[in-house]
Symmetry: C2
Subunit: 333 residues, 2 copies
């Protein structure tokens, strides 16, 4: 989705991002028909935050290493594959303002599209390995393992763990691990030393955590037209995100009950997902201050990401990474 | 499934295969609960033909390169991932004599299991790349792309192409491409020169084609207790395999009609998949000589695979590869 603020922020690296875009197009052109056009539409909706991270981190250390474009494309393709399969698992109907692939087509098409993109990401990272940086491949593969492990826990574990620790473990697997690896591998290509690599990992991790908290807040406090997803989707799936946790914690102290004598959020979490109940739950969460408290937690993680940047070369790319981190906690979608 | 003939054939490389088995166990141990035990049962049913290929090809050139064990494990894990997703796409209920994962668990579990195994295969091949042979990674990834492209055509193409060319294209994608890459990458690790690499590719390709034709014959002429799959499964999915093609070609000449005045195979292909119709179709195919004619075609490909071996060092490993090729066209499952 187009966002003028993000567009202005990334203006200095626009030519680099255009080159990544060409690589993405070339990659999608290789996808067998009839899946190609659907995937092109799916990709068109992305913000390209991960490619921007690769380019900006690469530029921290001087001229951009040529393999950075391929790494940016590989990570965006890997990310897209995990989103498409995630939508199958969640039975999500909307993503990036469009019907999800398994709704437009079928579950089979979505499973195949994800596999096909994973295979393409493997080719791209295999080529990076062949060009001299095989560690990138191992890191990306390990991150995919972490993402899968998180999904297995979330989807198949017999009991849902509604603790704060479980929430953080989940978003670490879902988002932060790939962001950490994105920053780290971009640094690896550019010759980051071990302490810089550690700082990049920390930066990516904290940024990913902040990003996911904001994403979870937008599920409850965002505008559907802007987020491209129906509000309360996570809640209806029984997913207890940080604002919901904050709400539930605070509602233990002050009793908040609906007409049926029950907390309206717990009603939805129990599976009562009709529009009226979801609206009531969202209203209750918004009124409780839980949204603001979760956003504060996101801002704390963003501040830690910005702190991590201080160990890295003081360049205009670093300033952009700093601003991008700020943008992430203020974005509306 | 245990087969004493295959067991005797592979006796000389049993210790190597045991090491691959340990690596596979270690890999599966890293899969998040609760998926681990189901995957261990799934793996227990495999014949390990691809690992055997890796080991035998490696031994053609002298002492086995240490990375061969990892390559064998990576390929077996990749293969398992594609089988699990393939069963989701086909809605298959049985595989390797057991209920398929998406039946025992759910489609979600099977999608995740496949993803998780793809990620593990990526880690293993990333480690091979890091140890100095990144080409292996690229080849495996390209083979996964070919497998996905084949599945996209088979599953999503609006019209089914029932020609012999389409059949060969499909089994090239489904089976022969990974067998070709298995033999080729095993040779790459062992220092095969370009002409030996080409011979290995050709060997793997022809072996894979022969293997898949026999597999397709077993769907119609095999014993369900031995194949571990219900007979006529492909036919019920509308898949026209080589014996079916041979039957349809010959039935154009001599008219063969059932009580409804229709060719019994076409009845099933049109979606009449109750047990009586499937039995009648299988009986008609078996009686027509189409099974024998397809097996002859498999034997021709096996002979070409054996011819390709002649360009490779004359060792006991080569004799075993020769015998393995013969075994494949004579196996009962």
């Amino acid at each position: 989705m187009y966002d003028p603020d993000l567009d202005a922020l990334l203006a200095p690296v626009r030519p680099d991002l255009e080159r990544v875009e060409s690589l993405l197009c070339a990659t999608l052109d290789q996808v067998e028909e009839p899946l190609g056009p659907s995937l092109r539409r799916f990709f068109a909706g992305g913000k390209r935050l991960r490619p921007a991270l690769v380019i900006l981190v690469g530029r921290l250390f001087g001229p951009l290493p040529p393999a950075s474009y391929k790494l940016a494309a590989a990570i965006e393709v890997l990310h897209a594959a995990t989103l498409i399969h995630d939508d199958v698992l969640d039975r999500a109907t909307m993503r990036r303002g469009q019907e999800t692939l398994h709704v437009t087509w079928s579950t089979n098409a979505a499973v195949l599209a994800g596999d096909c993109l994973l295979a393409r990401a493997m080719v791209l990272s295999g080529e990076i390995a062949a060009a001299g940086t095989p560690e990138v491949m191992v890191r990306l593969a390990e991150s995919l393992c972490t993402i899968c492990a998180g999904e297995i826990c979330q989807t198949l574990a017999p009991h849902r763990d509604h603790s704060r620790e479980a929430y953080y473990r989940r978003i670490e697997g879902k988002t932060a691990s790939l962001c950490a690896v994105t920053a780290e591998t971009a640094g690896l290509l550019a010759g980051a030393d071990p302490s810089q690599s550690a700082a990049l990992r920390r930066f990516g991790h904290e940024l990913g955590i902040a990003y996911q908290i904001v994403d979870d807040v937008l599920d409850l406090a965002g505008d559907e037209g802007q987020t491209g997803k129906p509000s309360g989707k996570d809640l209806c799936c029984g997913l207890v995100t940080l604002p919901v946790l904050s709400y539930l914690e605070s509602s233990k102290e002050s009793s908040r009950e609906n007409a049926e004598g029950e907390n309206p959020v717990e009603t939805v979490l129990r599976g009562q997902c009709d529009a009226a109940h979801v609206r009531a739950a969202i209203k209750a969460i918004r009124a409780s201050g839980a949204v603001e408290s979760a956003l504060q937690e996101a801002r704390d993680h963003a501040a830690r990401a910005q702190e991590a940047l201080e160990a890295l070369p003081d360049t205009s790319a670093r300033q952009t990474l700093h601003a991008l981190t700020h943008y992430i906690t203020c974005r509306a979608h």
